[in-house]
Amino acid sequence: MSKRRSDWESRPQARVRRWFYKGFLALDDEIAEKISSPPPPRFDYEEALEAQQAAIDSRQHERSIAIERLDQHNLLVWMRTRGRKAISRLYVALALVLGLMMMVFLLETVALMPRFGDPATPGANEVSARYIEKGLDETGAVNIVAGMILDYRAFDTLGESTVLFIAASAVLILLRIDHDKEGNPAQELIAAESDDRHYEPRDDRILQGSAMVLTPIILLYGIYIILNGHLSPGGGFSGGAIVSAGLILYLVAFGFEKAGRFFTTKTFTWVSFFSLSFYALAKAYAFYMGANGLPSGIPLGTPGAILSSGLIMPLNIAVGMVVACTMYVFYALFRKGGL
C-alpha cells in the first residue's frame, strides 16, 4: 500500500473492503501512518480572519487595478480611433474658423488702406523722397534701390549676407556626412552616393551637351547682373542666384567628381569668409570716414559708367559670391550630404 492515500482509498467502503480482505494489518498501517505524520496545525481563527480579509482586500485591489487598466485601455482605444477623429475634426474646424476670421479682419483692413497707386500714400514720405532726390549725388548709383540697400542701408545688407551664411553653416552641420577617423567614407555616405547614382542619370548625353552650351551663358549673365547692379535692375543677390544656377546645372550634368575639382567645402568656407570680411571692412571704412555722403576718398565716378558709385560695385561682387556659394552648397548638401 502506498503511504499516501487518495480520497478514493479512504472512503468508508474502501476501508471496509480492506478490513475484510487484509484484517487489522491494514488498519494498523493506517494508524501508524497517522501517528508518524505531524499533527495538523491548530486552526487559528484570528489569523484565518486576517488572511481572509487580506485576500478580500487584495482581490478588491486587483479588481480596481483591472478596472483602471480597462478604463485606460478604453481611453487609449478611443483616442486612437474615434477620439483622434473627433479631435482632428475639431482642430480642422477651429483652424478654418481662425483662417476665415483672419481673412475677414485683414480684408476689412485692406478696404481701409490707401488706394493702390495713390501718390499720397503715407509710405511715400520724406525718407523715400530724400533717397530719390539725393541718392544719385551721394552714392553715385544710377539704380536708386542699389544705392539704398548698399549705401544708406548697408548694415541691413551685411546682416542679410550673414543670415545666408549662417543658414548655409546650419545646413552643413545638419546634413554633412563626414568620413570616419581613418579617412574611409562612412556607411551613410556610401548609401547616399548609391542613392545618387540610382536616381540621377550618369553621363547623360543630352544633359551634358545642353549644359556645355548653357553653363557659360548662364554664368556670364549672372556676372553681368552682378557687375551692373548699380546701373540696372539686379545686384548681388539676384546675380549670385543666377551664377549658382549655372554651377548647379554643371553639377547635375557632370557629377560630383568633376565639380569637386573647382568647388569643395574649403572653397565655400574661404570665399564666404573673404567676401563677408571684405564687406565688413569696406563698410567699416565708409562709416569711419563719416558715411552720409561725406568724402571718404573713394571716387564716385560719373553716374552711368560701369566703374562708378564708389563701393557699391565691390560690395555687390562680395554679396554675389556669398549668395552663389551658399546656393550651390545648399544643393550639394541636399542631394548627397557633402561636396
Partner: protein, 124 residues
C-alpha cells in the same frame, strides 16, 4: 466694401494668399507641405509690400534721363524690404528642409503626428 476691395485688388489677393498659406500650415500634416504653405505666406507678404510701394504712372527708381524729381519714381523703400525678405525666407526654408531630412532619416515618415507619436514612444 466690395468696391474698395476691388480697387485694392493686389492687396486683397495678397491677403487671400496669406490665409491660404496659413491654412496649409495649420491643416496639412506633411512637413514639406507645411514648408510650402509658409513660402506661400512669404510670397503674399512680398506682393503686399511691392503693391504698397507702387504709385500710378511712375517709373522704377533707376535714373536714366537725369530726372531727379520725387514725382517721377515709385517708392524705393518697399523694394529693398522685399529683397531682405526674400533672402531671409530662402535661408529659413533651407534650414527647415534640412531639419525635415534629418527627421525623415530618423523616423522614415514625414507625417508630423506619426513623428510625434514615435518620439513619445522613444521617451517612454
Amino acid at each position: 466694401m466690395w468696391q474698395l476691395l476691388y480697387e485694392n485688388l493686389e492687396q486683397t489677393v495678397s491677403v487671400i494668399l496669406f490665409v491660404i498659406g496659413f491654412s496649409i500650415l495649420l491643416l496639412q500634416r506633411n512637413l514639406i507641405r507645411k514648408i510650402i504653405g509658409l513660402n506661400i505666406m512669404d510670397t503674399s507678404v512680398y506682393l503686399f509690400l511691392a503693391s504698397m510701394g507702387y504709385i500710378q504712372g511712375r517709373k522704377a527708381p533707376i535714373v536714366t534721363d537725369g530726372v531727379l524729381e520725387v514725382t517721377a519714381y515709385i517708392n524705393p523703400v518697399p523694394t529693398g524690404l522685399v529683397l531682405t525678405g526674400i533672402v531671409v525666407s530662402v535661408s529659413f526654408t533651407a534650414i527647415m528642409l534640412a531639419l525635415t531630412i534629418r527627421l525623415y532619416r530618423r523616423y522614415h515618415t514625414l507625417d508630423i503626428d506619426e513623428i510625434a507619436l514615435l518620439a513619445r514612444g522613444e521617451d517612454a
